[in-house]
Symmetry: C2
Subunit: 540 residues, 2 copies
């Protein structure tokens, strides 16, 4: 016997067409570089998106080819989210916080054919333009200023395209739609490629009541950059349900965000803990100094992720009636893998217990299988104590990296993704992350690879060894500290080492905050750097 | 370029395993025939479901074979919902409201191998046992009384099975999991076969915030029978999220339901308008007579479907703070196709406008494409006036019927399901059902085929012609009225015609309430019965 159900592929094009018919009156608000607000209806957005798709096809974009973006959060970026896949292309969001060298390397690795770039980000583009030749650079005139002649003008491109005549090509649901690079601990960043199927499934899982609980009446403020793991998937969900979107553009300072919240009060705001921490500190300070300048929108809820969310942050927001919902995941997991929601069993738990759980990584989402694998290769019991590596499996989890041979340190032989995070799981299925197998440093929601820093430092002629560890930091979450072993009779100061690292392609914010001279790097029995010992010594 | 995402099939087994690990403490409450309550934890339910799956495999169930159920709503039926697919079988829910002859025909058509039947429904089973030979009849001792020797005992079967050792076989996501028969206007009922894929996708769509908005803290009371289109999909959603389920068993009288709501207050209750109408009338009457006997649970929401929901019913519940959410669909659509939720655009609309919209069939759900096809074969504009047939398309819509050649009156050449409902669509995408192309009568949520009644009546020797129409009925929604044209010199009274219909296999509740003698059946220009004229004459 066989099922009688239709064989209809999951498709972003369906969500796009849906918005273009059902939600024509819906609102998309973008903050421009001059801080003014620009509003588009979903109807306008739909027409512009089809025009973009038609334009890309007219430029000769072929199925599966990459179109990169170097953009802040705004309506045109949302047009790329849907217009590039509609044209059969793959949206490749470039992380504007990376060093120019890294951006150039990533664009070359992805073989990006076209680039859409905000005019305000042209200076950054020019720093890596020599590293990868885009066939065409399309400039979005975010400021409204004329686009330099050597580039294509995004608005002129749309105006000249036949969006009404555009018809999306048929596709398989496993065809690619988007690509994002993940920072590796060893070697180069690696590309993750999402499909129609993985994206639609992730969208539906994100929308569940215990997760985002999105409704058509919601107003979503994504502070999370759209170049970070699909902005956690919210743009797709918003278009599926026709919710109002408020994009902050380049203005992510707490004062700007609080101002924006007064103009367009969100019901759901999402961002990384670092920004949320600044935001609540700024808000609380203003309550004392200038009461009444700002209000936190009544009934607003918030989704925080990208790094561990301190319990203190959850308490700080809850004092103002805003509950922080924490999600855990990574570029490889689309990203939502676990969500720390108030489970039914916690209904009668005291508030302290609810805060404690809220500060954990959370419970596996439906369709995502999570196991905690101990060093002995068995699954850890759900006792909240036994540690192991988090391994995940599911239809929106990556099984390999773009054009990189599958490696054992990334995927298990039985097909699970090795996340590199070490965790415990308790009886209610709450994952608590205790460590990382690789020693990445997460600063302001951005990864810094300690291994990359170490390798670069050790390339300095004066240094014998270097080990970089993460130190907890109130503002940034974590900051790097470098432990240095000089060659006999050699030395170098912080300024010299910083210059050395900048010359090797690191961004300024990636440089260590502190340098400590040690006699030798402690090692484990198998000869690996034993960073735990260094952390114990310096992390006070 | 190809996607790097894992190829993991959507699977009910994943939901089952998820509940068995994450929700072991969750609650499943069933009302027994003696009206007492029986509670199982999700952990117990999970073990019992695996035992059922193991037992079915030990009985030799092969992949794709059908296991029928003839059951009320209770925990054991939920075990069948997941245990049969886990064993590789297809759950075939038999509608206990059908006439025995029809049940026998359906079981034979589906080639059901095994039957799970409630002990209280054995009398019904015995009426059609001669029409289809089940290889094994497994009796669920719902009353607790001993199971007659000629049958297998469900509880003994589970007790003797090795559930812990059970391992589900690998499957494709398009493999079948469940089957349900739809009433046809012409000829026999037809089987719809759902897959893992269609069921999981439908579950995720149902859970959206504007639809069921299910959370782990919900308590769901499904009054909708589990033999009706998968109980609208709620059982799958409940297991996915670990929500508390309260099953009413055979006790669907308003007094029983109100009593049950006091014992286990639901946050979400679902049922057909007929039952909901009785319930609110009973409740309102008691408020006058015996105030305080019952309360409607605070904050309860309700999902109503299966037939048009009158605005008066929505208003009646809203007076007590319960908002009725209406869904429209059919067995062929899994069933959820449209939902009448309060869209963002209606936020500032007056309450009358909100009631009016709530009484419409609603807005297409994501993944479901809806078009209103006019008689001329074009898509009707979204003007709220132009009528046409609703046609639907999507990954949980049927493309054919089980072992029935695809017919043009059921599916369009370009692959859309023809629903047989006539409707308009307004500018906000709200579907309003105005008529049916086929003249089915919906009584108490159950279909009565007017064409079948007509054919049976016209087989009576005294009758020349008969046309059956639906009359609006406060209690049942609709009831059949038969318009009769006698042969010259002949006649028959209501009692004789009723006996004639019963002899032809109709159930008692399917018989017309009224008989009217007319001179001739009015006909359209193409010679079809023009029932509109009869409705205008009699529907006062």
């Amino acid at each position: 016997m066989r099922s009688t159900m239709m064989e209809i592929p999951l498709s972003l094009n369906h969500l796009l067409e849906r918005a273009g018919t059902l939600f024509v009156g819906g609102r998309i608000v973008s903050r421009l570089p001059d801080k003014s607000l620009r509003e588009h209806s979903y109807g306008q957005w739909h027409r512009r998106t089809l025009a973009l798709a038609a334009a890309l096809q007219e430029l000769g974009l072929r199925k599966g080819e990459r179109v990169a973006t170097l953009s802040w959060n705004h309506h045109a970026h949302l047009e790329c989210y849907f217009g590039v896949p509609a044209a059969g292309g793959v949206l490749h969001t470039l992380n504007l916080r990376l060093a120019p060298e890294e951006l150039g390397w990533i664009a070359a690795d992805a073989q990006d054919r076209f680039l859409v770039v905000d005019d305000v980000l042209l200076p950054l583009y020019r720093q890596f333009a020599h590293l990868h030749k885009f066939e065409r650079v399309i400039v979005f005139p975010f400021t409204g200023a004329p686009v330099p002649d050597e580039f294509s003008d995004y608005e002129q491109l749309l105006a000249g395209a036949d969006g009404e005549g555009f018809v999306a090509l048929p596709h398989e649901e496993t065809d690619p739609v988007a690509m994002c690079y993940t920072s590796g601990t060893t070697g180069r960043p690696k590309g993750v490629v999402y499909s129609h199927r993985s994206t639609v499934l992730h969208t539906l899982i994100g929308c569940l009541g215990d997760h985002w609980g999105l409704k058509s009446t919601d107003v979503v403020l994504p502070v999370t950059p759209m170049f970070h793991a699909n902005c956690w998937g919210l743009p797709y969900a918003a278009v599926m349900l026709g919710v109002t979107m408020v994009f902050p553009g380049p203005h992510l300072h707490p004062v700007d965000l609080l101002d924006l919240m007064q103009l367009e009060p969100p019901t759901l705001a999402l961002g990384v803990p670092t920004i949320w921490m600044s935001l609540i500190q700024t808000f609380d300070a203003a309550q004392t100094g200038e009461p009444g300048r700002w209000k936190l929108p009544a009934g607003m809820r918030s989704l925080v992720g990208g790094a561990a969310v301190p319990e203190a942050l959850i308490r700080a927001f809850d004092r103002h009636g805003v509950w922080l919902l924490q999600g855990w995941g990574m570029t490889e997991t689309s990203p939502l893998a676990t969500v720390s929601y108030p489970r039914a069993e916690l209904r009668d738990a005291g508030i302290d217990e609810r805060y404690r759980r809220a500060a954990l990584a959370g419970v596996p989402a439906p369709l995502v299988e999570v196991r905690i694998r101990t060093d002995e290769g068995s699954d850890a019991p759900w006792d909240g104590v036994t540690m192991g590596e988090i391994q995940v499996r599911g239809p929106f989890i990556t099984r390999e990296y773009h054009e990189v041979p599958v490696a054992e340190d990334k995927f298990t032989p039985d097909g699970w993704l090795r996340t590199g995070d070490v965790a415990t799981m308790d009886a209610l299925g709450f994952v608590r992350i205790t460590d990382r197998t690789k020693d990445l440093i997460k600063s302001g929601g951005e990864w810094i690879s300690s291994v990359d820093l170490e390798n670069a430092l050790m390339a300095h002629p004066a240094l014998a060894e270097a080990a970089v560890i993460a130190l907890p930091d109130e503002k940034w979450g974590e900051r790097p500290l470098a432990c240095l072993v000089f060659k006999p009779g050699q030395q170098a100061d912080a300024a010299a080492l910083g210059a050395h690292l900048l010359a090797q392609g690191f961004a300024k914010w990636q440089l260590p905050d502190r340098y400590e001279v040690i006699d030798a790097v402690p090692r484990t029995s198998t000869g690996k750097f034993w960073k735990l010992k260094l952390r114990e010594r310096f992390a006070r």
